[in-house]
């Protein structure tokens, strides 16, 4: 019996090379009040130009993770997002252009997911503006599926990136300095962990074939957001069990226990519908409840994806009053909006 992993590429695209620019154009056409596009540089910019005196937040990475990052540009979140080709980090020129475009004199924070390519390209971009614009960087590395050891490139940056962009964005909107916004960002990364699994692979448009093959009853556990194979394969199991596979390592890594309050983020990988994500959230809530960990805030939806991959990830962020206040602060972007 075949698996439902995509083996033939069926996508809503014109030419493969047009996917990213046309998708960005569509984003701008749907949200002209929120964003504008620097097409040559494939940068999504917050409408209205740089905010004088406000710390600017920039992120970016390979495309294929939508709404991350372009969908998070707007009030209370990012000032710019640099879109690379699918699963390929953007180049330094893009981050340089974005940094120059959004600088309001208070400095720029680069939010970088921990992948060698992203780190190196953002690093080169920072060098290109060194001495002209004050830049600080935070690297997210929340994926507990990867050991943070000398034997790896370090934990990957995944779900926490979404929460960090929202929370650090709120701090910047409130007028915090670059040092303080950076400190808040570091705090979010330090208190958040994630893990994900895939029910199907995804197809990189330029490759045209699935990145990995999965049997009809197989699940890839510990995947990243680039269709990288995970750490191990398991048989398909009830969602209660699969949620346990993801929640347990996070809870122990964060040392969460009775009385702690968390933001619970159940994220879809792109091809999993909401009826299943809420079912997964129900499992996660049951597991956390059983351990006396309370869900202070929650987020359920497909916010950091791997193209059409089916599956989900769980991110838990330990909350305190400051983080709750910043999370609740107004945000107005294509993908996240409240309080305005």
């Amino acid at each position: 019996m075949a698996t439902n992993a995509p083996t033939a590429m069926k996508k809503l695209i014109n030419r493969v090379e047009d996917l990213v620019p046309e998708s960005l154009a569509g984003l701008a056409a749907a949200h002209p009040d929120l964003v504008t596009i620097d097409a040559p540089n494939q940068v999504v910019l917050r409408a209205g130009g740089p905010r004088r005196g406000k710390v600017a937040l920039i992120s970016g990475g390979g495309s294929g993770h939508e709404p991350l990052h372009g969908g998070f540009v707007g009030l209370g979140m990012l000032d710019a997002a640099c879109a690379g080709n699918v699963f390929t980090s953007p180049v330094p020129d893009q981050m340089e252009a974005a940094t120059r475009a959004v600088d309001g004199g208070a400095g720029v924070l680069h939010i970088v997911k921990n992948y060698t390519g992203d780190v190196l390209n953002f690093q080169m971009a920072a060098e290109l503006v060194a001495g002209e614009i004050e830049v600080s960087s935070v690297v997210t590395n929340d994926d507990v599926a990867v050991q943070d050891s000398l034997y790896t490139a370090g934990r990957r940056g995944v779900g926490v990136t979404v929460l960090l962009e929202k929370i650090a964005g709120a701090a910047a909107e409130a007028g915090a300095s670059l040092v303080d916004v950076t400190a808040t960002a570091v705090k979010v990364n330090a208190n958040g962990r994630s893990m994900g699994l895939a029910l199907t692979s995804c197809i990189v448009p330029a490759a045209g074939t699935p990145t990995f093959e999965l049997g009809p009853d197989e699940v890839e556990v510990g995947i990243g957001i680039h269709g990288e194979p995970g750490r191990r394969r398991e048989k398909l199991a009830p969602v209660d069990d699969m949620a346990e596979w993801l929640v347990s390592p996070i809870v122990s890594d964060l040392g969460l226990g009775r009385g702690d309050s968390v933001l619970a983020f159940v994220n879809g990988m792109g091809g999993t519908p909401l009826i299943e994500l809420y079912t997964a959230f129900n499992s996660v809530a049951r597991i956390l409840g059983g351990q006396g960990i309370s869900i202070g805030r929650s987020l359920v939806g497909s916010y950091i994806t791997s193209l059409e991959m089916a599956g989900f990830s769980v991110t838990l962020l330990r909350l305190d009053d400051e983080l709750v206040r910043l999370w609740d602060a107004p945000v107005h972007t294509p993908a996240l909006r409240w309080g305005v």
Binding site: F87, N121, M124, V204, T211, F212
Partner: protein, 218 residues
């Protein structure tokens, strides 16, 4: 040397285009399935860059002219490849350009210095060393072999051939390795048994260089 390297870049672009799918397949196994696409895009941009370059300024020394085109190629890679390989190969080219700009007793010596500089540049930027299942496992042995061939009195063709042979052997050697750098490291034990895409593209670049320099005066 300038003309040889220009020919090399164009030939390498053609070969990378042919090999793109194969390189991407290697990257699908232990990475994210874009290495061939990335290299093809980068070298395609180099060809466009070469096509757009003004004719060589006669005033320039051979070394300066060579350094110039290699530097331009490096900048092009940094600006068009992205991913890990863009900054790494781009830096390798920039370092190599600086190396060839210096005086060298022979063109063979210049080639050796360039390959050594490339290897050092990648290692420094990527904070990696040999045995981690990366492009370094092809380039570092290539630099060592080239130096040895030069010390043994080899000419350009022979030092570059030595480099290409060592790079291919080094690429083969990545198959049993456990990756500890780059995306493949996320797989842990599961990275064993697969050839590293970057080491493969590095060997392809050096083999192409050997073919080009072997067939025409360096």
């Amino acid at each position: 040397m300038h003309d040889a390297l220009t020919t090399w870049l164009r030939t390498a672009a053609a070969r990378l285009h042919e090999e793109a799918a194969a390189l991407t397949a290697l990257d699908q196994a232990i990475g994210d399935g874009d290495h061939g696409i990335n290299m093809d895009r980068g070298f395609g941009a180099i060809v466009a860059m070469l096509d757009g370059r003004p004719p060589l300024d006669g005033g320039l020394s051979e070394a300066a002219a060579t350094a110039d085109v290699v530097r331009a190629a490096g900048k092009t890679l940094i600006s068009t490849v992205g991913g890990a390989s863009g900054p790494l190969y781009g830096t390798a080219f920039l370092r190599a350009a600086a190396a060839v700009a210096a005086d060298h007793p022979s063109s063979a010596a210049a080639f050796v210095a360039a390959i050594e500089a490339a290897a050092t540049g990648i290692g420094a930027l990527g904070k990696a060393t040999t045995g981690e299942k990366t492009m370094l496992d092809a380039i570092v042995p290539a630099a060592v072999a080239a130096r040895a061939a030069l010390d043994a009195g080899g000419d350009t063709a022979s030092v570059v051939r030595a480099a290409a042979d060592a790079a291919e052997a080094g690429s083969d050697a990545t198959i049993p390795m456990l990756a500890t750098k780059g995306r493949a490291s996320y797989l842990g034990e599961r990275s064993i048994g697969h050839r590293d895409p970057g080491a493969t593209s590095a060997a392809l670049l050096l083999r192409t260089l050997a073919d080009v320099t072997g067939s025409r005066p360096g």
